[in-house]
Symmetry: C2
Subunit: 511 residues, 2 copies
């Protein structure tokens, strides 16, 4: 059997006939979350939900699958990425593609809810080509905050921008992110002024949206060759969509007579003017870039749109290199779009948050009743992948504060299992996080190893002699050799809960 | 058009030709969670996770779908309830049926994880007949805690029972729940001693498991008529499986010579003996009932098993009535098992938590490497439906502490939108939860109504005269008419953050 153990190919299967023949893994584009990854992700969640609650948000939870009809016609070209459930009799359902359409469906169903600030942290599903290391997953978390209801214009829109700033500053990204901002009304106005026919406005818009990944020449080519836009219209568009700025850009555009004559443009200007005024009052304009190249793909946006980018959002390689790499890639492609693109330089992390105003989506479900909405969605997996890469200090493995140990040796050593159990029960009763080794007669060394391994800050060590004197030893882990309490202190067994609590509180204050 | 408005049948569709033709709803057996339901559910989650962390638990998150092969052959007869994803090319996947099999798959994939206490709160999916009002859903939350690894026997098993007690006491159920406890080894021993052939042990076991819903006569009939068990074997089983007790029952069984001669029984006795000893040390034996009728359906249990029941767990109607009701029901049944059974008296809430030891499940994936496990799963939706029915006091609608308002009137009233925005920004900067009305010129009355509606405890009222003096008014909501501060207090505008914080802290101490 030693020969079999040394067999180079899959020794486990050979050793154990019961092992399954298929590879044990998670489905492509999905992953397990555990250990310090999970601790970091939970921290990000807490930062975000704290901001949402600070602004009066309440949370709603919707099912992971919806009736297929609910999702139909909401995502344009991306509808092909929706996961369907198998037809096993009964209703035909699909996994949710985002949290926005389910929210609109909820509002259409609950007509008494006319105004709400809701947040929702949950997973969504897209049958897209994955790039796991860059946080591009098929199952991924979205963290959404939306303000629904009829209000005076642009006030909730400005508060959403303020929320974006609070989240990224809360995550420690101050100075390292940009909120790209534009307006569908302004974009539509530009397209109309440039002579784009109505039926080409959405296709041309989606070409413009690629300006963060491609140079203008390629985008122009796509407009003219693929979308059949007149070359002179494309050239006019090029004069506008490459412009970026803040309030100054707005002032510049307002001097353009062709633009100011357009009705959609006038509305867009009025919106943007108010928005900048309110952002100023909220102290939330510092990271904003008014960027005419931002178009956003989804069909349902009607007003301002925004997207948050950071270093790493754009691909490392673009333009001619990207086209070359793409051509090379296509050759070797297996065809099912399943392979991971983590190491593909033409794939960036993409935007880390995005959203906008969508005033007509609820009406697509409810008919008469419109509930205008504005919202933001944070891409948690992408945010995570950036923060993980920059993380220096490792987190504790669990939250346990006290490891309860037995000290003793020789053949008379009982292991004090009953005493350790009772002490743990007393600590748990007092709300103190505690654990012990599941062994009747554990070695002291193994108990310390287990405590160190989980990063537990205190050891509570029971010994027969000390117990006989009504005492127990407490020892803070990881103290330097010359520390006065390096060897621990004897405390009263009777009051051990209070003694432990006092030390935990003190350590918390010092940390 | 007023005629159309008064039309009795679906006026919305008639008014708005764009409204969809299908009913806007969630899929059968699923629901949205919002409002005070959501607040209560979040409270339950927090109680449970606090207990899990107190015992050193760390959380793991797995994908909502797994490769279909992973779930195959794990759930016995219930496999037909698994939801499959449609075959859209690529891998064939199914929605998870529980959190235990994905955890076992995780352990098999991560061979370096040999010992772990993990918890997981997540949704699972079963194509079962729903009873929504009783918390029997097709999409429902499980809250699992499992201890994996090789340890000295029965120590982790006892800690799981302690955890069950902490959770239900934390939820305020003290004295209102029972932990039914049994052992697969004891049950198998009884079946062997009673002369059940090996191939009938699982079918007979699943018949015994129905004793909480059916009288013994019906269970006996099922064994003899359906499972083809010899009548004398069934009668012998009847002498044992109706017994209940605590340590006394264990002592009684140990005096039965037929039982003590059986090898499986000897192991079961030794386990149970240790378990009772450890439960005593943990102070965790008070709610336990050693119940020989508990069998649990799932194939993977190997040692002790348990199930937590409460008032409402059992159906209101049983025995002959149940059979009659069942016969009546079958007649009117549409056949797809889709209709809701909330009002069916033969359906109880069922168990609110369940689990056991499963030592071989990880090996089903990894082949050679076994990782023994013991765990518990809390049925959150059932726990919720019981607590919701008993709830008296309503919760606040959001967590906002301060509603920022403008006071003024007449045609010169500006609405102070800029000032309200700036004050909110200062409060948010200070970490204080605040909101204001999204209206340029709001009426004071409407601002108070909005604050009352959300249960916001403090109003901060800006007025031009007060601002000119560097002051702002703070008013605690809901004070009695004769309270000295009923009309509010003027505080310094410059230090409003500290002034607000001091009042929030004070209110928190008093509440």
């Amino acid at each position: 059997s030693s020969t079999r153990l040394q067999s180079p190919s899959n020794p486990v299967v050979k050793m154990a006939p019961k092992a399954p023949k298929f590879e044990i893994k998670t489905p492509k584009g999905t992953r397990d979350w555990s250990g310090s990854d999970m601790v970091l992700r939970e921290k990000i969640f807490k930062t975000i939900t704290d901001v949402f609650k600070r602004h009066g948000g309440v949370t709603i939870d919707t099912p992971v699958f919806e009736l297929k009809e609910i999702l139909a016609g909401k995502y344009g070209e991306d509808s092909k990425l929706i996961y369907d459930l198998a037809d096993q009799g009964g209703e035909i359902c699909s996994l949710r593609y985002d949290l926005t359409v389910p929210f609109a469906r909820y509002l259409a169903m609950n007509k008494d809810v006319t105004q709400i600030k809701r947040y929702h942290l949950a997973k969504v599903y897209r049958r897209d080509q994955p790039a796991v290391k860059k946080g591009r997953m098929r199952e991924f978390y979205q963290c959404d905050f939306d303000i629904a209801g009829v209000y005076d214009p642009m006030i909730p829109d400005a508060e959403i921008i303020r929320i974006i700033n609070e989240v990224f500053e809360g995550l420690g990204w101050k100075g390292n992110y940009t909120i790209k901002l534009n307006s569908r009304k302004i974009l539509d106005g530009i397209f109309q002024v440039c002579g784009v026919p109505d039926n080409l406005i959405r296709p041309v818009s989606s070409a413009v949206d690629k300006l963060d990944k491609m140079p203008w020449e390629d985008v122009r080519k796509e407009m003219v060759d693929e979308k059949r836009l007149a070359p002179e219209a494309a050239d006019k568009i090029g004069q506008y969509v490459l412009l970026k700025g803040k309030r100054d850009l707005l002032e510049k555009l307002k001097k353009d007579e062709a633009l100011t004559a357009n009705a959609s443009m006038q509305q867009g200007f009025a919106d943007m003017e108010l928005l900048f005024e309110y952002l100023d009052a909220f102290g939330a304009d510092h990271s904003v870039s008014f960027d005419l190249s931002l178009a956003r793909g989804l069909d349902y946006y009607t007003g301002i749109i925004y997207e948050v980018v950071t270093e790493g959002s754009a691909p490392k390689v673009s333009g001619a290199d990207a086209t070359a790499a793409k051509a090379k890639k296509k050759k070797g492609k297996s065809g099912d779009g399943d392979e991971d693109r983590s190491d593909d330089p033409t794939v960036g992390i993409g935007s880390v948050a995005a959203g906008g105003r969508y005033d007509n989506l609820v009406g697509m479900f409810s008919g008469k009743t419109q509930v205008p909405c504005v919202g933001i969605s944070f891409g948690i997996d992408r945010i995570f992948s950036i923060m993980r890469a920059n993380q220096v200090k490792k987190d504790r493995k669990n939250e346990v504060d006290v490891f309860v140990m037995a000290f003793g040796g020789g053949k008379d050593f009982t292991g004090l299992l009953k005493e350790r159990s009772q002490v743990c029960a007393r600590l748990w009763d007092a709300g103190i996080k505690a654990e012990f080794l599941y062994k009747v007669k554990p070695k002291l060394q193994n108990q310390f190893k287990a405590a160190e391994n989980n990063g537990v800050p205190f050891a509570l060590i029971l010994g027969e002699d000390e117990l006989a004197q009504g005492k127990v030893k407490i020892k803070e882990m990881g103290l330097p050799d010359d520390h006065a309490l390096k060897e621990g202190e004897l405390i009263s067994f009777e009051n051990l809960e209070q003694e432990v609590k006092a030390r935990l509180d003190q350590k918390k204050r010092l940390d």
